[in-house]
Amino acid sequence: MSNATVIYNEHVGGPFFRMALRWKGRGFRPGQFVMVRVSGALDPLLRRPFGIYDVLGGRKGIEILYKVVGRGTGMLSELDPGDRVDVLGPLGNGFPMVRDPGSLVMVAGGIGVAPFFWLAKGMAGKGRRPVLLYGARTKEEVRLVRPFRAVGVRVRVTTEDGSVGSRGLVTDLLDRELVEGRTVYACGPLGMLMAVSEAARRRGVKCLVSLERAMACGIGVCLGCAVKTRPHPQEQKHYSMVCSDGPVFASEEIDWDSF
């Protein structure tokens, strides 16, 4: 019923928490996620999906970075070290590795930074620095990029009111970074993902997006987390599953008009 133990559950400001779990998961890739059963009770019933934020030294377990938005995440935030939860994973496809870290442009909004940290950490110090463009709405969100700076990522922050970093939207920063040979990885609110995809398409730059959908199973069997995709030439398939075909998709695969 429960296969993981809370090592710490640190409040990092505002609605954000960073939780370390001792857990015997294997074979992680950056950008993958886990399904966490917050309690053994039947309400809330379903597991909750969270990106893998970091992998603990010695592969003792993982960290997740989460935002309290409802009942499940609220219950998670009340757990103490030693408490038990159940973790299913790692799940999903994850981000492919890029050869030259300097060619990677990560774009995130809000809690969407979570699936990038382990990826960024793995690339830091291996040649040129990757960049993270981050759109924040609150000062607590701004704080979420500190660990990225600490591992050597070049971080650019925008806020809508200009209180931190530059003023405007994350896509305003993007134009300068969209040069040939670069790859964009994006995760965040839907509006941001659409704008980033469109900008990348116009400039002919490859763009991958990590999507969110309500999930019941997380393993591709309930067919609940469907997203409309452009049919592959051979397969007559019009929907893909975010949990098992994604959560990372090439942006041109997604039928953005379907949202």
Binding site: M1, R37, L42, D43, P44, L45, L46, R47, D86, L88, R213, A214, M215, A216, C217, G218, I219, G220, V221, C222, L223, G224, C225, A226, V227, K228, Q236, K237, H238, Y239, S258
Partner: protein, 327 residues
């Protein structure tokens, strides 16, 4: 105490095998259609050989895309789904999925549906010769396009047409899965058994909906969906019990089963076997835990054969109120 100590064999083994109208299962626990994919997806999480049977995702004549998103939403102790019967189609199932499933010693039940009586019988006919399929389960909770979208599963006449057509199209065991969205389940039970079904499973999901009050919109893209999970268990149990009163064929109980205790409720109320559905999303090996739990229960109560408890519900004593009304 006498009975308990007396009935335990030296090895402590209990007999879990059941026979549902000619379909023999090593134990009474199956997985419910649409909650277990094509079975193979679960092999990393459990030993599929343990299961009484795997019921695969509903199959249609041609592949189907399913409904627009959002397709699911959690509700108190349950969930709503409007998947729209997305599936690979019966041919791809036979060619691509079945060879992988055949490697396990577990019975395979193919859940089928169509939008016309002919489609139902055509899917059944294709499965008839497929090596590795042991039974078809007819999902009649599907709109009949020829009859203006009315659901087969709520009309006893239409339901019996489907069952008769499928019966004719295949020599496989025919299980018919009833919808709970009817006033009197006994009418449906009689209709499908007169039409020749070998067994009856119930219930499918109960229709329901949820509203996003901020946006004042239905949460599901289709507005209405099907409710499943522990929230529906008492309703499902009542219907299984009612069905068992009038059925001449074995009953398979479905709806909100998470633990062995839940499964035993259905068995005691008259189900010869059960299906575990939504619980597979909570713990992928839920069905195996249910099997182990039934075995423990039998040992605890000195029951040698699970068939002894099927329909063993004690009739109300003199103090019970037979009308069930409040006073």
């Amino acid at each position: 105490m006498g009975r308990t100590s007396f009935s335990m064999t030296a090895s402590g083994k209990v007999a879990l095998g059941v026979d549902i109208g000619g379909l023999k299962l090593k134990n009474p626990v199956m997985t419910a259609s649409g909650t277990f994919g094509y079975g193979i997806e679960f092999s990393p999480y459990m030993d599929l050989n343990r299961l009484g049977a795997v019921v695969v995702k509903g199959l249609s004549l041609r592949p189907r895309d399913g409904n627009p998103a959002p397709r699911t939403i959690e509700t108190p102790c349950g969930m709503l789904n409007a998947i729209g019967l997305q599936n690979v189609g019966v041919e791809a199932f036979i060619d691509e999925k079945l060879p992988l499933l055949r490697r396990f010693s577990t019975r395979v039940v193919a859940n089928i549906f169509g939008e016309t009586v002919r489609e139902y019988s055509e899917v059944a006919r294709r499965l008839d010769g497929a090596r590795g399929v042991d039974a078809v389960e007819i999902n009649i909770s599907c709109p009949n396009v020829k009859k203006g979208g009315m659901v087969f599963g709520t009309d006893p006449v239409e339901a019996s047409k489907v069952v008769r057509a499928v019966r004719k199209a295949t020599g496989l065991h025919v299980m018919t899965k009833l919808s709970p969205n009817v006033t009197d389940i006994k009418v449906m039970v009689k209709a499908v058994q007169d039409a020749g079904t070998d067994s009856i499973s119930l219930v499918n999901t109960i229709t329901g909906m949820a509203v996003d009050v901020e946006a004042r919109r239905a949460v599901l893209a289709t507005t209405v969906g099907g409710l499943s999970g522990p929230a529906i268990r008492p309703v499902a149990l009542r219907m299984v019990w009612e069905a068992a009163q009038v059925a001449r064929v074995p009953i398979v109980g479905v709806g909100g089963i998470v633990t062995a205790r839940d499964a035993l409720e259905f068995i005691i109320a008259g189900a010869t076997a059960v299906q575990v559905g939504t619980a597979n999303f909570l713990e992928p090996d839920s069905a195996v835990k249910v099997i182990d739990g039934i075995e423990d229960y039998m040992k605890r109560h000195g029951i040698r054969d699970v068939n002894e408890i099927v329909g063993s519900l004690k009739t109300p004593g003199p103090r019970a109120n037979p009308t069930g009304s409040a006073r």
